[in-house]
């Protein structure tokens, strides 16, 4: 009896294997059905809903969506100068944070990839990943305490006649640069690792100064990695609203979306299209710069 059952099971398994045997399409289809289904329904579906909602309006009292086609959300987005200010501020900060992180990350990544001992390398990787283990909110609140009028930065800088920048635009820049730094270091590190040491030796053998080697060999080869890292730092800054809210009075695109989401979802949806468009433009530039060459 039991042996028969085993045989039955086995043959069912065999039948399934037979079904897939030699059918490439079916194999790939079965493998991808789950992830692609999720991508289409969960991811693109919600995106589509968002886009549709941007063309609707609301009943002012109940906040219920009125499903009639209108362009008024986009009109107020374009016509009211305050939104331009906010969009520009968000993009500017994202660019500044990206630049800052690239400048800080490159030497660290270079040291990790080319100079550090095996042990030193491991220590640095752990050190860079460590902040990612703690909650985002804890880190931002820690910065609030550091930046406070009587905080650690004030205490450390006051002997040399300087003071904490306090809460504001500078604080936002500092905190974002801190938060996203690991996302810049890791891709650059991976990119630099791929450059064979022999290329650097060859450059030296041919008489290039270290600076020329850097400029003509290392930088061009690692630049796509920098651009790849910048996609993280740029998009994460573009979408964030908690850091500006906690360490400044500045409004970012995300803050305005947040304040409209409870009572005016269509307008919030229209606003949400702005970072999407900006991000597509950014990706196009990144592609031109070769960020996806090794994908």
């Amino acid at each position: 009896m039991s042996s028969e059952a085993v045989v039955g099971r086995r043959s069912a398994g065999h039948r399934l294997a037979d079904l897939f045997h030699g059918r490439r399409r079916l194999q790939v289809g079965a493998l991808l059905a789950g992830p692609v289904g999720w991508l289409v329904i969960g991811y693109l579906g919600s995106l589509a809903l968002l886009l549709v909602a941007a063309f609707w309006s609301v009943d002012p009292l109940s906040g219920a969506t009125v499903k009639n086609f209108t362009l008024e959300n986009f009109e107020s987005l374009v016509n009211e100068p305050v939104y331009r200010t906010i969009v520009w501020r968000t993009i500017r900060t994202a660019l500044l944070v990206t630049l800052t992180d690239a400048v800080i990350a490159f030497p660290i990544a270079f040291y990790m990839a080319k100079l550090a001992s095996r042990r030193g390398k491991a220590l640095l990787v752990v050190g860079i990943l460590l902040p990612l283990w703690s909650s985002y909110l804890v880190k931002v609140y820690a910065w609030r305490t550091l930046l406070s009028a009587n905080g650690a930065i004030h205490w450390a800088l006051s002997p040399i006649g300087l003071d904490t920048p306090g809460y504001g635009t500078t604080a936002v820049w500092l905190v974002f640069s801190y938060l996203w730094l690991p996302y810049m270091i890791l891709p650059i590190y991976a990119g630099l690792e791929r450059i064979p040491d022999s290329l650097i030796s060859a450059s030296e053998d041919l008489g290039a100064s270290p600076f020329t080697t850097f400029r003509r060999v290392i930088l061009p080869l690692s630049f796509p990695a920098v651009v790849a890292g910048s996609i993280f730092t740029f998009s994460l800054t573009l979408g964030d609203y908690i850091t500006p809210r906690l360490v400044s009075n500045d409004q970012f695109i995300g803050n305005v979306i947040f304040s409209n989401i409870a009572n005016n979802q269509p307008f919030a949806a229209a606003l949400a299209l702005v970072p999407i468009v900006v991000m597509i433009a950014y990706l196009m530039v990144a592609r031109k710069l070769g960020a996806f060459e090794h994908v």
Partner: protein, 396 residues
């Protein structure tokens, strides 16, 4: 090496283009489905369903009074604290909660969106002895139908650091009059929500009577613009806008701000931390001379409540004399229940908080949802969306 040049940007454009086309079809022919499920009042409170899911303000649902409730009724309480009225409305839309402690700037929206049901007050025995001036108010009763049980009320406070601000201010002019506020430039803490426009309107009602502001939540174009101008002027003096209590507590504790508008919750938390904060004295009911904006909160039952019996038992429990006294003292607000005044730990609590003086509460303007139709038949008042948009432009 590479066989194909990956092009995520073009793919993304294609997707967006496709979605755009689909959406234009969609948006054009979408019909506005009106959901007219008018709520049904409960006829009789039956046996508890064993659990209860609430949305509340911080400090409203605490173990001191939920534990005995659970023992008595068998309804296990889980509570979700919300930081703002907007958040409460948003959470109620999920339909996962039985009830909410809604302030007046949420109640009308909840009713209009069919998110809450009428409350049959005859099933809430303790309702009989709720203060008369809290019953049948425009923020808890709609078209003559009761939609909730009053919880308690209070005024938003003017708070300052006693070491830095002398003499003690007795007016909101310390935050609004440029001559006086300039002294505290960068040290002022203002509330970060559109309802703060009402605080400016209240100040104008007192200091610019020719604008004719009656109710700071019912503003016509001219009155509204005057309030916005005042807030834009105030912005240069504001050190920080706060929306979550924790943010303001850390700002006062760290010396980043020295004067601001606040709630009882932060005031007591800071005192406990040993920060020398002060507020208008209890003898003045914590009120500066202009009066103040404030809140009168209402427990409402969700139209999709899964545990309606437990919710009715909760609404009766929270205004039980002893419990309501406990709640009011814990939070620092005036109780809704008349009989609570006999049970407060501090025998003078009710007189300090003016719980029994209707005349006093005339100077407190409870949060309301601004609507276009503000009673003059002209629909010329600024509505909630106008307030939210204006608030964005004030902060810039």
């Amino acid at each position: 090496m590479r066989t194909q040049r990956a092009n995520p940007a073009r793919t993304a454009w294609l997707i967006v283009g496709g979605l755009l086309a689909a959406m234009l079809l969609f948006a054009g022919c979408g019909s506005s489905s009106s959901d007219s499920t008018s709520g049904n009042e409960l006829k009789k409170v039956g046996k508890g369903e064993g659990s209860l899911d609430l949305i509340s303000w911080a400090g409203y649902v605490e173990p001191e009074w939920t534990k005995p409730f659970e023992q008595k009724t068998g309804c296990k309480v889980s509570d979700k604290e919300a930081g703002t009225s907007d958040e409460m409305v948003e959470l109620m839309k999920s339909g996962q909660y039985d009830g909410v402690s809604a302030s007046g700037n949420a109640t009308a929206r909840l009713v209009a969106a069919n998110l809450v049901d009428p409350v049959n007050v005859s099933l809430v025995p303790n309702y009989k002895t709720v203060f008369a001036d809290l019953k049948n108010q425009p923020y808890n009763t709609f078209d003559g139908v009761n939609y909730g049980i009053p919880h308690g009320r209070g005024a938003n406070l003017l708070m300052w650091n006693g070491n830095d601000v002398k003499p003690a201010p007795d007016s909101w002019n310390i935050m609004f009059d440029p001559k006086i506020a300039a002294k505290y430039k960068g040290k002022i803490s203002a509330y970060d929500e559109s309802s703060y426009i009402a605080d400016a309107a209240l100040y104008l009602k007192f200091h610019q009577p020719d604008l004719g502001i009656e109710n700071p939540y019912e503003l016509n174009e001219e009155q509204f613009n005057a309030a916005i101008e005042l807030l834009k002027e105030q912005r240069q003096f504001v050190g920080e806008y706060w929306s979550e209590a924790a943010k303001q507590i850390s700002a006062f504790a760290g010396g980043d701000v020295t004067v601001g508008t606040t709630w009882q919750y932060q005031y007591f938390a800071l005192k406990e931390e040993g920060v020398p904060v002060k507020a208008s004295p209890a003898s003045q009911g914590f009120l500066p001379k202009e009066g103040a904006t404030g809140w009168s909160d209402t427990w409402m039952i969700s139209s999709e409540a899964k545990h309606p019996n437990c919710m009715y038992m909760w609404m009766n429990w929270i205004i039980e004399p002893k419990v309501n006294a406990q709640v009011a003292e814990y939070f620092g607000e005036a109780p809704a229940q008349e009989l609570a005044c006999e049970h407060t730990a501090n025998p003078n609590f009710c007189s300090e908080y003016h719980a029994e003086e209707p005349a006093f509460w005339k100077r407190v303007y409870y949060w309301e949802t601004p609507v276009a139709d503000c009673g003059n038949g002209e629909e010329d008042c600024k509505d909630y969306n106008d307030w939210v948009k204006a608030w964005t432009s004030i902060k810039g």
